[in-house]
């Protein structure tokens, strides 16, 4: 649960997980919970991933390869 400005306090948590398990993570927005839509949008949340996982190959895992394996695309 992040409470800091721009969710900055979540970054170390996310990076720690990405560091140890990049092949076991997927990205999610918690849709359809829009209760906080006036504070943060899915696009903003998504953009954080580039900060947490600056390496494109890592994002490829999180956004493409891992979901494909998990859901059987």
């Amino acid at each position: 649960m992040a409470t800091g400005p721009d969710l900055a306090d979540a970054a170390p948590m996310a990076r720690a997980l990405i560091e140890v398990a990049p092949d076991r993570l997927i990205w999610g927005s918690d849709y359809p919970h829009l209760s906080f839509a006036d504070q943060v949008g899915s696009g903003q949340l998504f953009n954080l991933l580039a900060d947490w996982a600056p390496d494109k190959s890592t994002r490829q895992r999180i956004l493409v390869d891992n979901p494909a394996a998990l859901f059987g695309f």
Binding site: M1, A2, T3, G4, L7, D9, A10, P12, M13, R15, A16, L17, V20, A21, R24, I26, W27, G28, S29, D30, Y31, P32, H33, L34, S35, A37, D38, G41, S42, G43, Q44, F46, N47, A50, R59, Q60, L63, V64, P67, A68, A69, L70, F71, G72, F73
Partner: protein
């Protein structure tokens, strides 16, 4: 609009315009170019049957309260167009669509019996409990009972608890028979950092690859929505 959405969103007036894309797998406000086959949209997988109170014997019913967000109706409506063939909508009580769905001829998410192969999930929510060391032991018999019932039904069990309780519950989760997850990564407080108690054990499990008994590992065989087709950019 993406080709798999037929027309204007029926709840469009409920959304802040910049968030209009939230439900349709398109995120026009993100930075950079999307990757091919990028998983970038909301994806409603087999979802909740009911919150299970502590003293419950898993009645498997559905409650409905006044809504404050749209979710169920449009999810239900658009699921086929989003190519979701195995899908259960929320029944968290926020959805005014629940009475509507009860009256429909389609299968109801909260029933114990349903079409074979449909994913089932029960969520146990304890997210509002104040810290009370040792409380997890009071939950052990109930969790065992729910676990046994979910295992019997083939349901997936999902836990939502604050970080302090998640940390306490990890030993109780380990021997569960049913497929289970911990929602929101255990709701650990980010301000305490990744070194806080409870956050490390899952990381270690991930590192060791203990997929079968890892509380935060999903078992796709039981909960995957198996889409017919996923839009390719």
């Amino acid at each position: 609009m993406p080709p798999y959405v037929a027309g204007p969103h029926p709840w469009a007036d409920k959304f802040v315009p910049r968030h209009f894309s939230d439900g349709f797998g398109q995120l026009p406000f993100v930075d950079g170019d999307p990757l091919a086959n990028q998983f970038d949209g909301s994806f409603l997988i087999g979802f909740v049957c009911k919150e299970i109170p502590h003293d419950s014997r898993l009645p498997l019913g559905i409650e409905s309260r006044d809504p404050d967000i749209p979710s169920c109706w449009h999810s239900w409506h658009y699921a086929p167009q989003l190519s979701l063939v195995k899908w259960l909508p929320f029944a968290r009580g926020r959805d005014r669509a629940l009475p509507w769905r009860r009256g429909s001829r389609r299968e109801c998410a909260g029933r114990a019996s349903g079409r074979d192969g449909w994913p089932r999930r029960a969520r146990r929510t304890d997210q509002c409990l104040p810290p009370a060391p040792g409380f997890s032991e009071t939950m052990r018999p109930r969790i065992k009972r729910v676990d046994a019932r979910c295992a019997e039904l083939g349901w997936h069990l999902d836990f939502l608890a604050r970080g302090w309780l998640t940390e306490e519950l990890l030993p109780i989760f380990a021997p569960l028979r049913c497929s289970f997850t911990i929602a929101h990564m255990g709701m650990f407080r980010a301000e305490a950092g990744p070194g806080q108690r409870g956050y490390v054990p899952p990381r270690r499990r991930l590192r060791l690859g203990e997929a079968d008994r890892d509380p935060i590992a999903w078992r796709p065989a039981q909960i995957s929505p198996t889409p017919r087709q996923w839009p390719v950019r």
